[in-house]
C-alpha cells in the first residue's frame, strides 16, 4: 500500500500517527461495522457455503456427500460448460467492447457536435433515449425483443419484407447460427446507455480550452476525439470496461427470457448453465462448483480492472507532479 503524505513524499506501508489522529479513526471503524457484518452475512458466508457445497455431491435436500475435487474435474471435461464460457466472451464483446467503443463516439458526437449545433436540450433528450433500455427491466425488454425477433410475425422480419429485403428474413432466435448474434445485438442496445452517460459526464470536466486550442490549430473532429477526448476520459473508460465486463460475465436475465440458452445450447452462458444445473437437474453440488468458478473469474477480472485503473491514476498523478 502506498500512502501520499504532505510535502509530496511517498511512504510505503508505514503508519504515521500525526497524519491519522486516533479518535476519528476508531469511530470510523465502528460505523463500518454494521456494513461489514451485513456483507459477511449476505456475501461472505453464502459464498463460503457455496464453495463448500461445490465439493459435495448433493441434490439440494438431505445430507451433502463429500466428493472432493470430483465436481472440479467434471467441470474441466464438461464441453457444455466451456461452450457456455465461450459464449460469455461473445457477451463481453456485446456488452463491454462494442458499447464502450460506440458509446465513446456517440458521447463525443453528442457533446462536441450536437451540443454545439442543436443545443443542450436535444442532447439531453438523445441521452435519455439511449439510456432508456438501462431503466427498463430486462424481463420486459426481453419479451418485447422476442416479439420483434419472432420468425413468423415478428416486426423485424415484417419490416425487412416491407422494404423489399424479404430474403434477409431470419429465424433470429431459433437458428443456432444466428441466435447468439441476435442476443448480442439486444445486449448492445441494453448496454449502450451506460457508457454514454458516464462518458458524457466525464467530458464535462475536460477543459474546453483544450478543444478550442486544437480547433484553432486546425484539428478536425476525429483528431480532437483521438488526441483530447480519449486520453482525457481514460479513467471513465476503465471504469466502464471493468463494470461492463463483469456484467457480461454474469449475464442471465436476457438469456433466460430470450432463448433459455437455446437453440441447442447456442446461447447458453455460465450463469444460466449453473441455474439449470442447480434447479432443473438438481445437481446442486455441481451447480455450486460452476458458480464458485464464475465468482472467482469475475473477482479476478474486477481486481485486475481496479488494479489497472489505480495504476493509470497513479501514473497520471505522477505525471502531473
Amino acid at each position: 500500500m502506498t500512502i501520499t503524505v504532505e510535502g509530496g513524499g511517498r511512504v510505503t506501508g508505514r503508519h504515521d500517527p500525526a497524519a491519522h489522529p486516533r479518535r476519528p479513526r476508531t469511530s470510523y471503524v465502528l460505523f463500518l461495522l454494521p456494513g461489514a457484518l451485513a456483507f459477511l452475512a449476505v456475501i461472505v458466508v453464502p459464498f463460503l457455503m457455496n464453495t463448500y457445497v461445490g465439493f459435495t455431491d448433493w441434490q439440494g435436500v438431505g445430507s451433502p456427500k463429500w466428493s472432493g475435487l470430483a465436481n472440479y474435474r467434471r467441470l474441466l471435461d464438461d464441453s457444455e460448460f466451456w461452450a457456455s464460457f465461450r459464449h460469455s466472451l461473445f457477451m463481453v464483446v456485446a456488452m463491454a467492447a462494442v458499447p464502450t467503443a460506440v458509446g465513446l463516439v456517440l458521447a463525443a458526437a453528442l457533446f462536441d457536435y450536437v451540443g454545439k449545433h442543436f443545443g443542450s436540450r436535444i442532447v439531453a433528450v438523445l441521452r435519455a433515449c439511449f439510456y432508456l433500455p438501462q431503466v427498463l427491466p430486462i424481463a420486459v425488454a426481453g419479451i418485447v425483443w422476442s416479439w420483434i425477433l419472432a420468425p413468423d410475425n415478428g416486426s423485424l422480419n415484417a419490416l425487412l419484407k416491407a422494404i423489399g429485403l424479404g430474403s434477409w428474413q431470419q429465424d433470429w432466435l431459433g437458428d443456432p447460427d444466428i441466435a447468439l448474434y441476435s442476443v448480442m445485438g439486444v445486449m448492445v442496445w441494453v448496454q449502450l446507455g451506460f457508457p454514454l452517460v458516464v462518458f458524457m459526464a466525464g467530458l464535462q470536466r475536460v477543459d474546453p480550452q483544450l478543444y478550442e486550442a486544437a480547433e484553432l490549430d486546425g484539428a478536425g473532429w476525429w483528431r480532437r476525439f483521438w488526441h483530447i477526448t480519449l486520453p482525457q476520459i481514460r479513467p471513465e473508460i476503465n471504469v466502464v470496461l471493468t463494470w461492463c465486463t463483469i456484467a457480461a460475465l454474469k449475464v442471465f436475465g436476457a438469456v433466460y427470457v430470450l432463448t433459455k440458452g437455446g437453440p441447442g445450447g447456442a446461447t447458453d452462458v455460465p450463469s444460466y448453465f449453473s441455474f439449470t444445473t442447480f434447479f432443473e437437474k438438481t445437481q446442486v453440488g455441481y451447480g455450486a462448483t460452476i458458480s464458485t468458478v464464475l465468482t472467482v473469474i469475475i473477482l479476478v477480472l474486477a481486481l485486475a480492472g481496479l488494479g489497472l485503473q489505480t495504476r493509470a491514476e497513479d501514473a497520471e498523478e505522477g505525471g502531473r507532479t
Binding site: T26, S27, L30, F31, L33, P34, L37, A38, L40, A41, V42, V45, P46, Q59, G60, V61, G62, S146, A150, P151, D152, D171, W172, L173, G174, D175, P176, D177, A179, T259, K260, G261, G262, P263, G264, G265, T276, T277, F279, E280, K281, T282, Q283
Partner: protein, 430 residues
C-alpha cells in the same frame, strides 16, 4: 464515550445477527392450533382447477366452523425451485400442490420431506376412486421412483394430449376431417399444398418433444413405457420406436408439416397461432382446453392421436402434505373435499379432466367429449406420462436436442445418440 461506543457495537451486532438469521430463513409462522389450514397452490383462478379449489375452500370452511383456510397463491416455478428448502424449514404449509414425477415428488419423498398418505388413501377410499394410470404418480418407492410403494400425493384430475383441429379451416380448404393416421398425414399434405404449415409447434418449449414422444408411442407398448419411465429394463434410444419417431419428425420438418422456423417458438406462441386461426392443427394437452373454449372464435374439435393406444398424459399435479405440516388432519379433510362429487363435477364442467366425477352431471358437450376420451384412454391403460420425466434436467436436454432436429443441424441418429448419453448419465442407479 465508552458506553456510546458499546451501544454502537451492540446495535451493529444485533443488526447483523438478525440479518444472518433472516438469510438463514428460520422464521416461525404459527403453531398448530387446529384452526388454520395453510394451503399453497399454483393454479390460475380462472382455470378449471383454480375454480374447483376455490369452491373446495368454501366447502371446507363451511364444514369446519372456526377453521380458516390461509391460501397463498404461488407460481409453478416458485414452488418447483424452492420446495425442498421450504419443506426443510418450519415455514412448510399444511398442504400444497406439487409437481408429480421422480425428480420432484419422488425426490422429496425419498428425502423424507413428505407425509406417507397410504393409510389415509385406504381409509378415505381415494385408492379406489383414482384409476390405475393416474395412481402411478401418487406412489413412490424408497428410491423415489413412481409406480409402486407408498402414497405421497393425491391428484384430483388428470391430463392427456390430443389433436386439436380447426374445423372451419378444414372446411375452407376442402380438407376432410381425419379419422385415421393416414387421414391425418394426407390432411397435412393438403394444407402444405395450399401454402399453410399444418402443425403448430414450439421448439423452445415442451411441444416439439411431445410430438416426437407421441410418434414413438405410436410404435410402443406398456412394457416400452415402463422401460423408459420406470427403468424396468434398459432403454435403447436406437430401438425401432425412437428411431421411427426421430426420422419421422425430421421428415415432417422437411415436408413443411412442421415449420423450420419453430425452433425458437414458445408454447404460448403456438397456442396463440391456433387461437388466431393460423395453424389448423395443434397437438397438445388438456391444459389448453379451457383457454381454447374461451378464446377460439371458430368451430373446433379434438380427437386422440390416431393409430396409437398410448398418448402423453398422467394424473394432474399432486396434493402433498409436508412432513412438518402442523394440521395434517385438516389437510386430509381438504383433499377429501376436492375428491367429492360436487367439486369433481365442477372441475369437469369447467373444462378440466376430473378423476372421480359423475358422468351424468357433466352437462357441457365439449367437456363430455374431453372426459369420454379420457375414460377411453383410462380403460385401455393409455397414459404414457411425459418424455422429460425419467431423468432430472432431461427437459432441457430434450428441448435443445429437438431444436437441433428442427433446424437440421443434427441428424436423427446423432440426436438419439445424444439423448441416450444424457439419459444414461442421469438415470437413477438402483
Amino acid at each position: 464515550m465508552l458506553t456510546a461506543r458499546r451501544r454502537v457495537v451492540t446495535t451493529a451486532v444485533v443488526l447483523a445477527g438478525s440479518l444472518l438469521l433472516t438469510s438463514c430463513g428460520g422464521s416461525d409462522s404459527g403453531a398448530s392450533d387446529g384452526r388454520t389450514l395453510r394451503l399453497w397452490h399454483y393454479e390460475g383462478p380462472d382455470s378449471a382447477m383454480g375454480a374447483a379449489w376455490n369452491e373446495a375452500i368454501k366447502e371446507f370452511e363451511a364444514k369446519h366452523p372456526g377453521v380458516k383456510v390461509k391460501f397463498e397463491e404461488k407460481g409453478f416455478e416458485q414452488i418447483q425451485k424452492t420446495a425442498p428448502m421450504v419443506l426443510n424449514s418450519s415455514d412448510a404449509p399444511d398442504i400444497m400442490e406439487y409437481n408429480k414425477g421422480n425428480a420432484t415428488a419422488g425426490l422429496l419423498s425419498k428425502q423424507g420431506l413428505l407425509t406417507d398418505l397410504t393409510a389415509e388413501a385406504a381409509k378415505r377410499g381415494w385408492d379406489k376412486e383414482i384409476p390405475a394410470g393416474v395412481r402411478t404418480t401418487s406412489m413412490y418407492d424408497t428410491n423415489g421412483v413412481m409406480g409402486s410403494g407408498k402414497w405421497y400425493g393425491v391428484p384430483n384430475y388428470a391430463e392427456y394430449t390430443m389433436v386439436f383441429y380447426n374445423k372451419d379451416l378444414f372446411k375452407k380448404y376442402g380438407v376432410a376431417e381425419p379419422k385415421t393416421f393416414d387421414d391425418l398425414t394426407s390432411a397435412m399434405n393438403r394444407f402444405v399444398a395450399k401454402g399453410i404449415t399444418p402443425l403448430a409447434n414450439a421448439g423452445a418449449e415442451y411441444m416439439a418433444q411431445q410430438y416426437l414422444y407421441q410418434l414413438a408411442l405410436s410404435r410402443a407398448d406398456r412394457a416400452w413405457v415402463d422401460k423408459y419411465e420406470l427403468y424396468k429394463g434398459r432403454n435403447d434410444f436406437h430401438d425401432a420406436a425412437w428411431t421411427y419417431a426421430a426420422n419421422t419428425f425430421a421428415d415432417w420438418v422437411k415436408k413443411g408439416w412442421i415449420s423450420k422456423k419453430s425452433s425458437g417458438t414458445k408454447a404460448e406462441d403456438a397456442g396463440v397461432s391456433f387461437i388466431q386461426g393460423k395453424a389448423p392443427i395443434l397437438f397438445s394437452g388438456s391444459w389448453w382446453y379451457g383457454r381454447f373454449k374461451a378464446e377460439n372464435k371458430f368451430d373446433w374439435g379434438t380427437f386422440l392421436w390416431p393409430g396409437s393406444n398410448l398418448t402423453l398424459g398422467s394424473g394432474g399435479n399432486l396434493w402433498v402434505v409436508p412432513k412438518g405440516a402442523r394440521n395434517k388432519n385438516l389437510a386430509y379433510d381438504f383433499i377429501d373435499i376436492t375428491m367429492s362429487k360436487k367439486i369433481q363435477n365442477l372441475l369437469g364442467n369447467k373444462g378440466g379432466v376430473p378423476v372421480a366425477a359423475d358422468p351424468s352431471a357433466i352437462t357441457d358437450p365439449r367437456a363430455k367429449t374431453l372426459i369420454d376420451n379420457f375414460n377411453t384412454l383410462s380403460r385401455r391403460d393409455g397414459l404414457a406420462f411425459y418424455p422429460d420425466w425419467p431423468v432430472a434436467g432431461f427437459y432441457d436436454t430434450l428441448v435443445s436436442e429437438t431444436q437441433k432436429l428442427i433446424t437440421g443441424s443434427e441428424k436423427p441418429g446423432d440426436y438419439l445418440g445424444n439423448l441416450q448419453k444424457a439419459y444414461d448419465q442421469g438415470v437413477p442407479k438402483q
